[in-house]
Symmetry: C2
DNA sequence: CGATAGGTTGAGTCGCATCAACCGGGGTGG
DNA sequence: CCACCCCGGTTGATGCGACTCAACCTATCG
């Protein structure tokens, strides 16, 4: 049960048999609980294990020598952080909790055994890795060529699609536990500017965002300002509702 | 022979036997030649094959609906573009030649057979994929939190390290076929600003860049302004010379 | 009830974009 | 052989988007 968001996500990528599912459940032994700002990976760590985020939001980030911080990945419930890191020697980023998190720590050996036995699962994990490559590319485009509102809009679209894929959102609203400072570190902006951009987006009638809850008021408008394209999610967005969008103009 | 830069790169990741090398050579049938601005992958393509760049520079890029363009990956001689794309359904980016290129097109099936027979090679390809993930993350940090000079400096460091890994540079100078417009599309800047930033970097005594040739004048200074860290290259930089840097100040 | 975290607002500044013109070199065609 | 063009690089003027600094407001919590 507890592994369900993770399994649900994998099933977007591969057909899993009952046995597959059983083996995945078995991966998850004791779960650990983390408070916001606690870490489960630190730069320099030798990756002898892999983490599955069962509940809560987390992020991977890098910090420059002078303190500037950039979040490079956002982890949502059901995400496995770096399925294959153990192929590498060391890691140059940190992964920390943004909200209270439930995390399962899986030894690299278990992953190796599982993927050796169960090619379907191996393929699903690789698929997931390829999707992450594509998510990152889209982030590069955002940071390189989109302005503040576009970046934020794009993030909203991405997160809603990803949450919908594991049944945590209907595609139009969701819990939004991130602070404006988190948002700034994701979008490469300052908190002040995030604040003002959000206000504009509210005034434009695109979204509502109060009390840690996000509601999309104008799907068409949001996607349009984000220039959001689901192709790069590669099936992750399969369950995203095809919303009858209200085209402006 | 013709596969050598590719093999050389793989050997950073895994020990290859003579048989391994033979099999890789055999992958490469006829090579195609491309002029700058010609494409070997287009958005929407169903990836039934994989490309190995034997000579020249190429890039993966995305174009926004309104024409803004962002280069998301730079391919150098010896790079395999997307070793495992064929796991996916379609592709949402373009790959095009920046200089005249020699490219080998390898059918997905050959890759599948090769990796099934030769686990060493499979692992080397996956390693390469993980390194690319890390390169992309570093790019996200650049675009999100580094300013113009820092971004350009970081790119120079990265490219020199990658070229050195396949024997195309000694780590302090190399051919630099990119135009300032290309540089702008990589760094998310305008060409005008790239131009002015380069001038400052020349004045700062960091680099020389004339006639499509790049020379690093001050290694320490360049790395410092780039805040460049080789960890994220994971062994790709193994052959990078440990240069006795001239620390300023 | 003070302390703290998160959000909001205003003023001033700067990095970078945009627009536009110009320069130099290499290739091309008459 | 020269006139021309085009591409890549350079320069200047101007404007805007986003940053910084700093204050203040509100809700939550021990």
């Amino acid at each position: 049960m507890i592994a369900s968001p993770f399994i649900r996500k994998l099933e977007h990528f591969a057909l899993l048999s009952t046995e597959d599912r059983r083996r995945i459940e078995a991966l998850i032994g004791r779960a650990t609980f983390l408070a916001p700002h606690e870490h489960f990976v630190r730069p320099g760590d030798d990756p002898r294990s892999v983490h599955i985020l069962l509940d809560g939001w987390a992020c991977r980030y890098k910090t420059l020598p002078d303190g500037r911080r950039q979040i490079v990945s956002l982890f949502l419930p059901g995400d496995m952080c770096d399925p294959y890191v153990f192929l590498l020697d060391a890691v140059d980023y940190a992964i920390g909790a943004l909200t209270p998190c439930t995390v399962a720590k899986v030894p690299a050996r278990s992953i190796r055994e599982l993927t050796a036995d169960r090619p379907h699962i191996a393929e699903a994990l690789w698929w997931q890795t390829l999707v992450e490559l594509d998510l990152q590319r889209e982030k590069i485009v955002s940071l390189g060529r989109r302005n503040a509102k576009e970046r934020i809009a794009h993030l909203f679209c991405e997160v809603l699609a990803r949450l919908a894929a594991v049944g945590w959102s209907n595609g139009t609203d969701c819990d939004w536990p991130l602070t404006q400072a988190d948002l700034a570190d994701i979008t490469g902006l300052s908190t002040v500017h995030v604040n003002r951009s959000l206000q504009e987006m509210r005034n434009d009638g695109l979204i509502e965002l109060h009390n840690r809850h996000l509601v999309v008021r104008d799907h068409g408008g949001l996607r349009e300002t984000a220039m959001f394209d689901t192709i790069h999610l590669h099936g992750l967005a399969a369950e995203t509702p095809r919303t009858p969008t209200t085209e402006p103009g």
